[in-house]
Amino acid sequence: MPRFLSVKPDTRLITLPWSTPLAEWPTDTLVALPRGISRHVVRFVRVGREVYAVKEVIEHLARHEFSLLRDLERLDTPSVEAVGVVVGRVDPHGEPLDPVLVTRHLQFSLPYRSLFTRGVRQDTVNRLVDAMVVLIARLHLIGFLWGDVSLSNTLFRRDAGSFAAYLVDAETGELHDKLTHGQREHDLQIARTNLFGEFCDLEAGGLLDEALDPQVLVETIESRYRELWNELTEVEEFSGTEMHRIDSRVRRLNALGFDVAELDITTDFAGSTIRIQPKVVDAGHHQRRLLRLTGLDTEENQARRLLNDLDYFRALTDQQGADESIVAHQWLTDRFESVVNSVPSDLRGKLEPAEVFHEVLEHRWFASERAGREVPLEDATQSYMRTVLGSLPDEKIALSSMASMGPLANPYDPSQGYDDDEETAPYDPWEDDEAAAEDDAAAVPAGFLDIAALRARAGQG
């Protein structure tokens, strides 16, 4: 009987066909969502209104990943939510099956395979690359060595015209107190190789825009990472007459979306040279402020956009002197909620509320430009709902973008590639040996050291 290890169990998961290998699950439980490639068997299942990702993997890895994902959640790092591990699976013949790790499908998320398609704008690619870089840097800041940085292990969410990246796969991850320079370099090296391979794969599958060069893309990722890391951690030295540089550094970090929780400031004896170095920086500067003021939990750039609108609202209503939290409450009901509530119910799955608000603001700006006057928010909202939102793909669960991925051999498993028939497999002498080795292995109990064989081999040598 399977055992469920879970913190927040969803009882509807219990009735899934656990005694069947995942690759053979009946398709009526599955959802074909676009995703990256994977070594393991991974499927999406729909249970009621929830979608879960289930991955078949050996037990120690399943448990390791489950606890790491929970650590990442606790540390407020963008990652998928671990739901549980199912162990003790056996098939109807009593043969054991690998355990399964269950994670919640990240709503409104987009895998790279549906983003890096033909015709993708260079600007979009830059934003995706930036999102990836911010994720790697955030993970490194908390001491997380990913060990398998790749696009396949990342999901993207829209973030006020940019993207926010989430970690999906923590199987190879390790949480340390602090990463060494070598560990970060190692992660970067893996990132370069994996991303290069993934871009080449998209290229080979005719899915990468011809204007994009895999080599340039990976170099950009590496250089952007270094720039960001330096800004986040580097020592800055200046003369005692330039004290404003302390404030500028903090502002620059805030603009990048980071809060400085601890800044190390040292001076020489005379006080003529100042040396500063951020010691503790936390991502989510705008996110936290917006959450505190309004209770809205959004991505970082969305938060920045919403906060800008809050400032604008304050000026508009002439409340600069009023308590910020009171104005924020007014803004929430008068502006944010009035826009979001006017989304017709059949269009709610198109975009997240904060992204809709951002889009309406954009729409309004363009409309005002065209009209040569300020278009009221209500009018812009109506126009946006009427002319734009309805024509967008549904992204709550991004099914439609599967169409862009070509004729897959197995719609539930993009790792299988296209459905291009190949003749029978060539002869592989090693597989014959392997069969023989398996027979040998079966004759010897597992974990038994065959010292006679070792002596014989040493004698021959």
Binding site: I37, R39, I58, H60, L61, D98, G147, D148, S152, E171, D177, K178, T180, H181, G182, Q183, E185, H186, Q189, I190, R192, T193, N194, F196, G197, C200, D201, L202, A204, G205, L207, P214, V218, A409, P414, S415, Q416, G417, Y418, D420, E422, P426, Y427, D428, W430, E431, E434, A437, E438, A441, P445, A446, G447, F448, L449, I451, A453, L454, R455, A458
Partner: protein, 370 residues
């Protein structure tokens, strides 16, 4: 290709009260397959990561060939971490799946093709080069992953528990393949595992670590036949060596009512210790007659074809002593195995008795014993 030298290499984690790797001295020969083995927390992975450049070296140094790499970043060390967490790219051919990293490194197309073809030949994948990986078996996928490391032709291969992600069946076949490939390639390889059977069957030499300290580095047979201390004696071998405490007498060591003969010169090396530890491998016991051998109360007999495993405790112990007594394991002929509940005598050839100091754990018997 190159040698690898750890010279007093030490790693202390911030806040830790003792080093994770303590003054490691290890010389790895050119083309050698060196396995680092030990229980969890022994420092084997840390040592490998120090070599890879992932862990700082607080004291000492590491050389690859005659280059001091102690402070070099990972990418400048000319090493390849054989990465078992491979993903095969579905739209690329097997050949491109093996050679894409060379393309990134700016290696010319002709050179890439040559290296990929060589690796494919070595891996028995020649006929698969132009195919997509879709239909490959688990084992073939493993080989493509190995191919990725091979085409880079690094000076040293590093492998950190590469088989731990595989199921039991694939583990045994991949183990054999890695060892065979390493022999053919002749590239210096450092391999980390917690599994002593894996270590013993794969390594040219095996370095056993515990608590950050190197216990012994030797050929698999020497580790088995001449363990330098109690830890190595107990760690290497499956089923494990029996370690039994006995009282020293003039011509041997008392175990129950039997005196295991031990040469006087060996006993003389045990400076005034009253009790010593005896190490006897399960296969070195034979069933003895009457009073010839250690008396054992048989608890369980497990028959396995030509052999039988006998488990029991030293006979004639008091009830409370029996509870704490070590279990004795003997591998004997399966033709006429004794019954459980009986008492038998187990004989040992003096040459197969390993004697250890109880105080220091060090080996006392001379190295010709096995």
């Amino acid at each position: 290709m190159a040698t690898v030298n750890f010279r007093d290499a030490t790693r202390v984690y911030p806040g830790a009260d003792h080093p994770s790797v303590d003054k490691l001295n290890l010389e790895i020969g050119d083309g050698e397959f060196m396995v680092l083995v030990g229980p969890s927390g022994c420092g084997k992975s840390t040592s490998l990561r120090m070599l890879a450049g992932l862990e700082e070296i607080n004291q000492g140094s590491i050389y690859i060939g005659d280059r001091d790499v102690t402070d070099l970043p990972p990418k400048d060390r000319d090493i390849a971490m054989v990465f078992q967490n491979y993903a095969l790219y579905p739209h690329m051919t097997v050949g491109d799946n093996m050679g894409f990293a060379l393309k990134m490194a700016g290696v010319s197309k002709t050179e890439r093709q040559t290296r990929v073809a060589e690796a494919a030949k070595l891996l028995g994948l020649e006929d698969f080069l132009n195919r997509k990986p879709k239909a490959l078996s688990g084992g073939q996928r493993q080989r493509v992953a190995m191919g990725r490391a091979i085409v880079r032709s690094p000076q040293v291969f590093l492998m950190d528990e590469p088989l731990s992600n595989l199921d039991a069946k694939l583990r045994v076949s991949t183990r054999t393949q890695i060892a065979a490939l390493q022999t053919r390639l002749g590239v210096t390889t450092v391999y980390v595992t917690h599994d002593q059977v894996e270590a013993m069957t794969m390594g040219d030499r095996v370095a056993v670590l515990k608590d950050g300290l190197l216990q012994q580095c030797d050929t698999p047979l020497n580790l088995y036949d001449k363990p330098r201390n109690l830890f190595v004696a107990g760690f290497i071998g499956s089923p494990a060596m029996n370690l039994i405490e006995g009282k020293v007498s003039a011509d041997g060591i008392h175990i129950g009512d039997y005196v295991v003969p031990v040469p006087r010169e060996t006993l003389a090396r045990a400076s005034n210790e009253q009790n010593l530890m005896l190490g006897i491998r399960p296969e070195n016991f034979t069933l003895g007659e009457a009073n010839d051998g250690i008396g054992i109360d048989v608890a369980v007999v497990e028959e396995l074809g030509a052999d039988a495993f006998l488990y029991g405790t030293v006979a004639g112990l008091h009830e409370d002593e029996r509870l704490t007594a070590n279990q004795i394991t003997a591998r004997i002929s399966g033709r006429t195995p004794p019954q459980r509940g009986t008492t038998v005598r187990l004989r040992i050839d003096p040459e197969h008795v390993h004697v250890f100091s109880k105080a220091s754990g060090d080996r006392i018997s001379p190295d010709n014993a096995r």
